[in-house]
């Protein structure tokens, strides 16, 4: 598999990582516990292959394992770290505060989460008790076997498949730390440092296996959840520390094989307290990652392509704007997708844009905002829109070059 070398004759497509799990897989994940049983392992492998097949059929170029084997994009680390366990508790950052926009409109909760199976971290902050990570001992990485199984599953699923590349998401040290009740380490800084050292094993293994590593970093943008009452300056200082830890964890890894995912919480709420991207874009650029995936389709962030006009993308980086809203059942018109891509391409150059989705379609195994078949239809629309954008952008850049 080659590194991403976005070519100016195409606009590549990808998504944010998670996809709806099949019902039986979801049941296994929600039940928790040992998964070494041969039948379960076999089923998980099949499910990864199905997820890859669906992505390829929908026209996705840079595919993932759909996070098929993960219960949630944060909580999965409990299975892979010594010194970390899961507990039902009222303690912890999320449950103390919850997203600030929903604090303004508590009556909106019923609307925002109606008709969906709420679970895991999406639920956090909404109910008094929720599942939290608890740190009760020294943290080390013990997930090598589970991770290797995941890497093997994805590798097997890709056999005979025509994809441009493949990626695997992993959580950032700080988002894990923020979702964690600290009982062992004396300070947050020590906890963060320990998580960085432990997760570095996972980051390296993903890249060594030949995949692109996506680090999920909602902690860079998620001020309305993680630091609503802080001043912008204090929040930025905190983010800068987090990024230092992340960069140490990424030490020695080729940045061109790394991308980060910025988001503001994958829930259909008002989002009126979301931090503007312009307030942290410089910090996001500091991460040793070439790719920057960011929400750019939903009505709170669609306008932010203008940020890249004034804060130009550094050399060697590319942007993965979300051109599909993962909270809406509307199937984006391919022309809407194309226009969104073109706005970015005109600012950062068509060779520096990969079309993506705002966030995952199943950030936790138990929750999807959109029914599965509409997910595939939305991804097909993404691919069709990318084709339309590419044909127009390439034509206009060629005619530009041909001009005397």
């Amino acid at each position: 598999m080659s590194a991403i070398q976005p070519s100016s004759s195409r606009v590549l497509t990808t998504h944010a990582g998670s996809l709806p799990r099949p019902a039986d897989v979801r049941a296994v994940l929600m039940r928790g516990g040992d998964r070494s049983d041969d039948a379960i392992r076999q089923r998980m492998r099949e499910a990864v292959a199905e997820a890859v097949g669906r992505q390829v059929d929908s026209g996705i170029d840079v595919v993932s394992d759909g996070e098929t084997g993960k219960v949630g994009f944060i909580l999965y680390v409990a299975d892979r770290l010594a010194g970390v366990s899961l507990e039902r508790t009222v303690d912890g950052v999320y449950s103390r505060h919850g997203p600030a926009d929903l604090r303004d409109y508590p009556e909106a909760l019923g609307f925002a989460f109606a008709g969906t199976a709420i679970s895991g971290e999406q639920e956090a902050g909404i109910r008094e008790e929720t599942t939290m990570l608890v740190n009760d001992g020294p943290i080390t990485y013990t997930g090598a076997a589970q991770l290797a199984e995941g890497l093997d599953s994805l590798r097997a699923a890709l056999e005979g498949r025509d994809v441009e590349d493949a990626f695997l998401p992993a959580i950032s040290p700080s988002i894990a730390a923020m979702q964690m009740v600290r009982r062992h380490y004396e300070s947050h800084a020590e906890l963060l440092e320990a998580l960085g050292e432990a997760l570095a094993h996972e980051y390296r293994a993903v890249v060594d296996a030949g995949f692109i590593l996506q680090v999920d970093t909602p902690d860079i943008t998620g001020k309305h959840v993680l630091g609503f009452d802080m001043s912008l300056q204090a929040y930025r200082e905190q983010v800068a520390v987090q990024i230092d830890v992340l960069n140490r964890a990424l030490r020695g890894i080729d940045p061109s094989r790394v991308r980060i995912h910025l988001c503001w919480g994958n829930y259909p709420g008002p989002h009126h307290h979301d931090l503007p991207l312009r307030d942290v874009i410089d910090l996001a650029y500091r991460v040793n990652a070439a790719g920057i995936s960011v929400e750019a389709a939903n009505p709170r962030h669609e306008h932010e392509w203008t940020v890249f006009e004034e804060a130009p993308l550094p050399e060697g980086k590319y942007v993965i704007p979300g051109v599909i809203d993962v909270c809406s059942p509307y199937i984006e018109h391919p022309e809407v997708v194309a226009q969104r891509i073109e706005r970015y391409a005109r600012v950062v150059g068509v060779e520096n844009v990969v079309a993506g989705t705002d966030c995952g379609f199943g950030s936790t195994a138990g929750r999807t905002n959109v029914p599965e078949r509409i997910v595939w239809a939305k991804l097909s629309s993404l691919a069709e829109g990318a084709k339309r954008a590419a044909s127009r952008l390439v034509r206009s850049s060629r005619s530009g070059k041909a001009a005397p």
Partner: protein, 393 residues
């Protein structure tokens, strides 16, 4: 109808969430168990006064009564028109039928159970003016207090009535349309004479494609569309075009919408409708791109666009900069004075269905007004609509 001569004016589609007690009363009326008439009238009057004040406070320029007295934007006519009774077929969007698992999540299965749909079983006449006169009086009173820039009132088009209330009486669809036009003319004229901008709700001109005649070819359907526009023009023949607007939509429901007819396929017929203002969905992910149609098709003289810059099916509060970008796209193509900012559709097309929390609804309207102000700054004063990036060191 006031235009955006010095800045971009703001309006919305019509329906707003009813207060809980009023919603319950409207549901009872719909189920044939009306509450005490006097209590109901008092509830409506208070709700209209409040909702007009709230629109003005949210920064809207062209306001209405929020359709407080109406069970839904189209079926309210059965209270006013003679000729309806029995049971008609109910219509469901075929895009949702393609994804039945989503319909379940929406509770769509329940809708037809709670909203009784009669049919046209006798001659249609405008038999009961009292609800209309009451609506006009309530709005007039509310406007005196809140003093908005301009005022509109909505009424159903002959075509949308024909879409939702099945014809079991007239010999042809065309005959039915003309009878509806003759009857609804009474309401249209009364709204105009009251000094309000008349908005005619015409989902039949867009949603009709995938709801009314999903099997027909585009050409066949366009012929039907011409009949609908003829009926509309007949019913509005005594009102100057500049005092009217129409609202097009593809159905105000959170669905896949992959069968929606493209705006470009119907625009030439839409232009034939007499009203000067054209309100239409332009914010949701199935129609946001269609501003581009106006690069290829010239807007006829006298017409004004009212694009939806707020999606009425999502609880996300639009960022004002996004609102400004959406307005600017239209203004750059057709000219700033020919754009009024609007919403995709109503926020409670039926009283019983308000998918977005009422407080968030008004936050979204505020975001529209803020966005219009940003767009106006750029269009009239050359001030950039977006906040510049100023990063601390």
């Amino acid at each position: 109808m006031k235009h955006s001569t010095q800045r971009i004016l703001c309006t919305h589609t019509g329906s707003l969430p009813r207060p809980a007690d009023l919603r319950d009363a409207l549901v009872r009326i719909d189920q044939g168990d009306p509450p005490d008439a006097e209590t109901f009238a008092v509830q409506v009057q208070a709700a209209v006064a409040d909702v007009v004040a709230r629109q003005v406070a949210a920064g809207l320029d062209i306001v209405n009564d929020g359709e407080m007295s109406k069970v839904s934007y189209s079926t309210y006519v059965t209270e006013r028109l003679s000729g309806f009774g029995g049971a008609g077929r109910s219509v469901a969007p075929p895009d949702i039928q393609d994804f039945p698992e989503w319909a379940l999540g929406l509770g769509m299965g329940d809708v037809s159970d709670t909203i009784a749909v009669p049919a046209c079983v006798d001659d249609v006449t405008y038999a009961n003016r009292a609800p209309l006169d009451t609506d006009l009086a309530h709005l007039r009173a509310a406007v005196r207090t809140s003093a908005p820039h301009d005022v509109f009132m909505s009424a159903a088009s002959p075509g949308v009535v024909s879409l939702f209330l099945e014809n079991q009486h007239y010999a042809s669809h065309d005959d039915y349309l003309h009878a509806l036009a003759a009857a609804m003319k009474v309401e249209y004229d009364a709204i105009h004479q009251a000094g309000f901008v008349l908005q005619i709700d015409c989902p039949d001109l867009a949603m009709g494609r995938h709801i009314q005649v999903p099997g027909a070819s585009l050409e066949e359907w366009r012929r039907t569309l011409l009949l609908h526009v003829d009926a509309l023009n007949e019913a509005t023949c005594d009102i100057p075009p500049a005092d009217m607007r129409i609202h097009l939509c593809w159905g105000n429901y959170e669905g896949p919408h992959h069968l929606d007819v493209p705006l470009g396929d119907i625009l030439d017929i839409v232009f034939r409708a007499r009203p000067a203002g054209i309100a239409f969905e332009a914010a949701n992910p199935r129609h946001e791109h269609e501003w581009q149609v106006f690069e290829d098709v010239a807007l006829p003289d006298g017409k004004v666009l009212i694009p939806g810059v707020i999606d009425t099916t999502t609880s996300y509060v639009e960022h004002p900069e996004l609102v400004a970008q959406r307005i600017l796209r239209f203004a750059r193509v057709v000219g700033r004075e020919r754009v009024i900012a609007g919403t995709d559709c109503g926020f409670a097309s039926a009283a019983a269905m308000a998918p977005i929390d009422p407080k968030i609804t008004f936050a979204k309207l505020r975001a529209m007004a803020d966005g219009a102000e940003r767009a106006s700054g750029e269009l009239w004063d050359g001030r950039p609509a977006h906040t510049p990036v100023t990063l601390p060191r």
